[in-house]
Symmetry: none
Subunit: 233 residues, 4 copies
């Protein structure tokens, strides 16, 4: 979870679960005033940034859409950049946690990948603004990327790799493919689908493609077949 900065009193009420630098997300206690504003600002930020891009988004507009004074934003976030970080982080975290949970239910590697793919596309397909921000802003800034990718993204990527290795161990995925390469294909394919969807004017059902993609990739990975293709070099 990203470091945030809610008003002091609220902060002191928190079960100290912050890690980075200082503040922490206000707990959702009965008093939902602070939490309320925190979330409203975050939501507003995602909406505005999705619409105009981070650099063309004005804090004043985020504040306005969150229905708070612009100064209030700085009671909850240290800087405009921090808002984006928190937004990206929050979106990712909630997805990731859910992914881990849902996967736990299935022991089969292939099935797990299938669940993951569906979840990936569903999660992003459900909230276009978050998808836009994730697909455009996350890659756009070398700073974010370096910071974010190194930690969060890598965890997701590693999850995929582990599933693949598990499949290799149990024999459902052939061994002559690097788990890293396979994970790249898996993640890359999903990512591309989302990007195309984000860039598309139409709002088609993103998750619908999940199975076909997984089928294709699993077929390629599956040890139960023979590729007629051989690398030349």
């Amino acid at each position: 979870m990203l470091p945030t900065k809610p008003p002091a009193k609220v902060k002191s009420r928190l079960s100290a679960e912050n890690r980075g630098q200082e503040g922490a997300i206000p707990a959702t206690n009965g008093n939902n005033r602070s939490t309320d504003k925190y979330q409203r600002i975050l939501d507003a930020a995602i909406a505005v940034i999705a619409e105009k891009g981070f650099h063309n988004s004005r804090v004043a507009e985020i504040a306005e859409r969150a229905d708070v004074a612009s100064g209030t934003v700085y009671l909850y976030f240290k800087s405009k950049e921090q808002i984006l970080m928190a937004a990206l982080d929050g979106a990712f975290q909630s997805f990731f946690r859910r992914a881990q949970n849902e996967i736990a239910g299935s022991p089969d590697a292939a099935e797990r990948l299938r669940i993951l793919a569906r979840l990936h596309l569903e999660a992003l397909g459900r909230n276009r603004s978050i998808a836009v921000v994730l697909q455009t802003e996350l890659r756009q800034s070398a700073k974010f990327l370096a910071q974010f990718s190194q930690q969060e993204m890598k965890a997701y990527f590693n999850l995929i790799r582990e599933i693949i290795r598990e499949g290799q161990r149990t024999g459902s995925i052939r061994q002559d493919v690097s788990d890293k390469i396979a994970a790249s294909c898996f993640f890359g394919a999903l990512d591309e689908l989302v990007t195309a969807w984000v860039l598309s004017a139409r709002d088609y059902d993103l998750a619908a493609a999940a199975d076909e993609v997984v089928n294709l990739l699993l077929a390629g990975m599956s040890s139960a077949k023979k590729s007629g293709m051989e690398a030349r070099s």
Copy 2:
């Protein structure tokens, strides 16, 4: 092709409002002086933008690195944004043209995909700055300056789809896979490899992974196999 604006003989800059968006005087004449500066600015822009990202790049710095006065930049480009567009466009065009050429030599769909993958990774792996700009700024620009990137990228994407359909027609690629999905997987996988490479501190050989990726994907697409996997839903 992106609108560009090398100073023509005519005093009236942008004597012709061109296609899509802006004035374009392709400057493919023998004239070396202008072309020289035009290209220097473009190169400088790519270098600077790769380093700091578009929004954190200063026109003054691009000018300085191109060894021209900052005002001169505006003799060749209408705006800072235009520089980015031209840079993206130039990088993409040269790749795309080469891709079309190299592919022409081979009639086999699978082989073509293999060539394309290798070219894709080689081209980007050869020039890290361009790769960085392409991977970080292109989506952003695709989303927010849609006109351009949408078209260019779509052309590339369509090229891939056509090859796949060709393979389906000749029987080397199975028919029960959507060419669109397959192309997404293909492009997405390559794209992910490049992104990972760009983000990596190490400068490993990007193209080395080409064959393995293509093998995996072709195996999945190949009609010469049977996938044990069935979609659930």
Copy 3:
């Protein structure tokens, strides 16, 4: 005395628009609670302002150091500026009253000046924070918030002048020197000593210089001598 505003029993804050500028409820009642906070805020203000200067001091920090909520500050003072005024005033008043008392004991003008000098240096030398604030903020405030300082300072200055005139009347100070000029020299010399002390990193004994300074000035003022120096013009 500066307008101050300790919360009185009355709900109507500032029931009386007072003298000069603002409401003043001297709070010299037995009531300790209010007085307590009032003084704590003042002390905190002096400490913070001495450290960072008035304009770089935050009301929030003063409040924090006084261990009250920032809103509470406004129950006792009308504005940040008022805090400074009250602080300057308080510091000055207590010194001035004491000066008047101590001087009363001695009938001799020279002796009185000597007492004053020692008191001046001792008082400021005893509390560096107050000295810093007085030396750095008082002029500023004298120039821009003229009402207050002008009066206070003038009273002190007049006290010095009176002593000098007294000395002239009794014959211990020569008559050919303007009491105003002499007072300027006297005050200026002391002021400069304090300023140098305030700026110095070392915390030497400020009052130690008192006698030497007074000797020098009294020698110059004394009628019991002949200056070899004549003004040219």
Copy 4:
């Protein structure tokens, strides 16, 4: 001379006489454009700051009074603070240099002090704005003070001390007075005169008091007399 930041081209034309960090005051060559603006901004700054105080002065107002765009200010100065520094520094330098010159003409210590006093009061009496800034802003900021006093002011102070020591060597000033204390009295007295003048509404002739002050102090310092006063303790 303080580091300043004139536009690059001008900078490159300069005889590199800068010391601190970067830019330098544009030389007064034929092209007076830059020099012109630099000085205009400085003059405007002194006027505005004298009127409202540094912290209450707006860069926009300084720019407006200098008849340049507000952004232009930042071509010549790195920050608002730098403007004040440059202004204080410039004013002081020119005074100090002149003081050194004028003093050189006279070999007598007493005469030198007399010259210095007159110059001090004349210089400040001639330009009330500079005097105001010097008397109020210079002391106000611990930062300025520490930085400025440590270097410039100390040089002035040392000049005074040297003259006094010289007088002690030649016998015109008595030896039983510390040159440091004497210099404090001398400087302090002058400083107080200026401050009083600055704070006064009337615009009387500041320099008129010079001789009387010097007479008083010299009388006190002079070895040709006997003080009837003895320190008590």
